[in-house]
Symmetry: D2
Subunit: 343 residues, 4 copies
């Protein structure tokens, strides 16, 4: 099994040793299943430390489920969910949201993966028209699928706008740790404090084996979540093994150090590639991803050396992701391969 580290995705990395240690430590005796155990209580306590006391938090296996089950809980089948055209929710969940919620996904083209009131506003239409899907939620991704960030203020403006329109704000935070580090903010400051109603919070991409959290910032909204999670095939029996990971993840700055490192590696990668002829970095590097345009004919040769994803085939945009375990050595080797291949 090759030990080479690629730049394909932050879920190509494995688990952080501290996560594995927590897992092993939790493997003692019997505990009640399905989340009624002490490990889960402790993990929830950790979440409250980071996000504030006034939350309800539930664990699921993966990010697709966090998005779909959270959104199902706060919408009806005749609602519309508005997101950027590039949203994971839209592109990479195999119409799971439509299937499980029954809703319409309204997509908005963007330059940088970010929504604004101006972009959203034309879609807040047909309110009360029984022929039309009723907009209920805007879902943003933080950092976006293009590696860009919303500032606290930008989120606040969105949530204020939505609440005035009787709508809700969902944040897909599969990589929220990377955002928090980059924004030099606590989790609470970029969620509860700026009006977020529902958050999908990621652990997997930042060093966990698996595990994501659904965080409701208004307890009324979460009322049916536990039934929906079970019905949605996402209630873990041996829940302690997710909870123990989350407790470790949110302790001793593990989430922070991992994300900080990945972000730093992306900055180094950016510095290394930005001046390579024929490479054009196409998005601000604000989290742990570098997006670049490279001539089409070099993509496949380079992929043979290092696996990575083509983000936009038509525009020849590629995505290079850094992980918590990426090293400066890895970057050197990779950028060397880029230079060689492109010349």
């Amino acid at each position: 099994m090759a030990l080479i580290k690629d730049f394909g995705s932050d879920n190509h990395s494995g688990a952080h040793p501290d996560i594995l240690k927590a897992l092993i430590d939790s493997n003692k005796g019997h505990t009640t299943a399905y989340g009624l155990d002490e490990y889960t209580k402790k993990a929830i306590k950790k979440f409250k430390e980071h996000f504030g006391e006034n939350i309800e938090v539930y664990f699921v296996y993966n990010g697709t489920a966090a998005n779909i089950l959270g959104l199902k809980t706060i919408t009806d089948s005749f609602n519309a969910i508005i997101c950027a055209e590039t949203a994971h929710l839209n592109v990479h969940e195999c119409c799971g949201p439509e299937k499980f919620i029954g809703c319409k996904i309204i997509t908005i083209p963007t330059k940088d993966g970010k929504l604004t009131v101006d972009l959203i506003n034309p879609h807040i239409i047909n309110i009360g028209d029984i022929h039309c899907a009723q907009p209920k939620v805007v879902s943003i991704t933080q950092p976006t699928e293009l590696g860009t960030l919303y500032t606290k203020k930008e989120i606040k403006i969105l949530s204020d706008y939505l609440h005035k329109n009787n709508m809700l704000l969902h944040v897909d935070g599969a990589r929220l740790s990377n955002a928090a580090v980059s924004l030099k903010a606590s989790f609470k400051e970029i969620s509860a404090d700026v009006g977020v109603d529902l958050l999908s919070f990621g652990g997997t991409k930042n060093g966990m084996i698996l595990g994501e959290a659904v965080v409701f910032f208004n307890k009324k909204l979460s009322q049916n979540f536990e039934y929906i999670r079970k019905q949605g095939m996402q209630l873990a029996s041996k829940m302690r093994f997710i909870s123990a990971q989350f407790e470790a993840f949110l302790s001793n700055d593990l989430w922070y150090n991992n994300a900080k490192h990945a972000n730093k590696m992306a900055q180094i990668l950016y510095r290394e590639v930005k001046d390579i002829p024929k490479v054009k970095v196409s998005q601000k590097v604000q989290a742990n991803a570098v997006f670049a345009i490279i001539p089409k004919q070099y993509i496949k040769p380079l992929q043979k050396k290092y696996f990575f994803h083509v983000f936009d085939e038509h525009k020849s945009v590629v995505r290079w992701m850094c992980s918590f375990d990426t090293t400066e050595e890895d970057i050197k080797s990779f950028t060397k391969a880029i230079r060689t291949t492109l010349s």
Copy 2:
């Protein structure tokens, strides 16, 4: 965190050390996500060793998903799935099958959790009547939710009958290891060889952290599974961590030894309780569960000492499950508690 081992469920146990070791060993470098990794290839190879070459196998997080996503793949929304009234599919999946498949679940009362041709036959009606759900699959559980077993011959009779009626046989094998041990049969002998079309194969309850497999014995049937798994929120990104567990599970007789032990503990528990006055064992003990009727007034006091589930409140039936890590000591303590409480 209490180390006491209860008899509530085999998923109250943790993970077997060999499983954890495999997990740790797989935590090396980067691998492609979503199942395109070497660990998954190896695990699939192991499945083929046990179930025959002519299978398609996919991994999901839990048993509810294995059942629902497998069945979704082989049915249409206007089909009916027939199962015992006691089936997990019917009782403990929060109408997930109805929600995700759209189908009807036809339930049949049984004495021992087992279906027979005679029980099924009256429900194979209205074929071709467009007003009525069309029976497509019979789902049996092996061992049943009542701890009883189907013999190879019984399964063969069912599958022959169903295939003659253009129907399919699904086996919910969340505890198939326990069945195989008890029947002194290989996995292949109790699935492929006796006409099973689709199997949910369990790892979690027999010593894994989490992980279940969906096994198709006819490749044509599995055609759409991968889309349905992704849409159904069950495609693990860091798949290696499920696959590595399964490889260990199916190697060095780990599955066998674990299940054999659990079954043996259930026999010991049975021997210990069968003569306790006021305890009436109500089902054959063929796997790792003991079902007993005890007077209602003793249930809560006993539960205070040891957690376990009431299976049928009306008939005062309780369920005691043994795990791969149950010890004779545990049984002694527990039966002592029963004797004390009931006298």
Copy 3:
């Protein structure tokens, strides 16, 4: 086209002339579509005269939709709906309720198609258990699919019981007119006054071309119905053509006279067949249906002369329905055919 009148179903009949007249009369000029027209206002007014002012009523095309869309409006996807095993909802809607609502249908075997508190009570279980479908509605049919009736008192007992358990009572009243006539009661007395929460009210089987109504007796429950009706493909554009029929149906005792006649014909049919050797009437004749057991070998020969449905193949039960346009002559010819065939 044969003019023979059969006893297959009350929807084998055509439309009453007064219904056609109303339809023609409404065919004047332009009206706003989708129910915002004067005919719909008038029809709603008529419903309020019959059912009380405190209702919300909406029109749909057929009875299957009235049941499914009404129930969808008052349930969540993790709820269970309890009904008799013989319920149209269960047997003859091709798992439409499961598909559109996502819910579980819990079925109860009965002798006469009627549910009682004693029959329902064992199924009000697992309340608050997130693994299990949560019972929310009991659906009864009035008259039942077996032609039997609930008394006002029986309905009240059911609704009281359900409301105490935070549940709701739905009545499938595809033939409610026949029930009202037979019970010598107003529509209000057998719905609003005895605690019914939701009613599917039928027009088609009692002389309309098509058209059913969904009546909510608690306005809070109906909040989302209009979106669900549109999404559920049941919002008629030229609504006036349903509304005008309903206005006529509920005027000048048309509903009453039609149902009274059909019921009377069923009584005559009953008197004629009850003493025929080999015919055993198997249910009380309380509405417009006669259920009888006849020897299997005579069913097909008789069906060749007169179309009718076999209700239970195993028990050799057949159903003979009378319509608003059935005549005593029709019954004479039919019973003659029965006598001839069975001797």
Copy 4:
């Protein structure tokens, strides 16, 4: 009830007298329900005369159902359906397609409501990628929601392109009569002959009380439709009342004369308004609709006199529809009102 004829929609009109006559004529004696009657056989025969022998045709109540149920029959839940942003399917079915099919609707902005290969091509991506909805059908509307037409050749180019890509072409033909008249083509020439796979064929907007047809041009595709129609709440019990209308509709050029008249009225309306100052006709007038931009401040005053829909609030586009019963007098009065209001 006002007899004024507005330009709000062609479903504001009533029924053509010949349709009512057919309805009345079919109201004789008993017929088998659910489509097993002679009227339905005759109507199907008529469809085969117009569309070719090699079709399967089924009747439903309305156009939303024709679209959704037809598309459900030829797709899986993980498929994407591509349509113009303005498609009825997208805008005016309250996310019914997403709810009932589970699929993704991919929308494409257009100038004139028409799709082309160039517009579609960028969306035929991610084929075989299990993370992504798989494009399966392109749905076009003929005439479009903007009153424009596809030529036979344009449809053929689309269907050829789609078939090469293993995809299918659906036509929403709620107003197909208007298209056929305008294109001087038979129904077959603009459907079967140019590669259409599935058609929603409208009767309601062209003089019927209600009734739409789902036409499959490949019998293999229609295999499950009857179950899906029943499950989808669209199987009419007294089917003869829809079938008899369709038979009349397709006889004696009724569909043709009605559509021809409506189209002609639209041309007259167009001629009358095109030179009114402040009115800017914004789409080609090819069927029975006129789209115009008028200054925002005049919309409400004009709507007070004549009901019509605003098509695009932001761009101040209004829609004026002509019906089979619109007269030149109506147009004169309406254009007079426009002139008066806008000056």
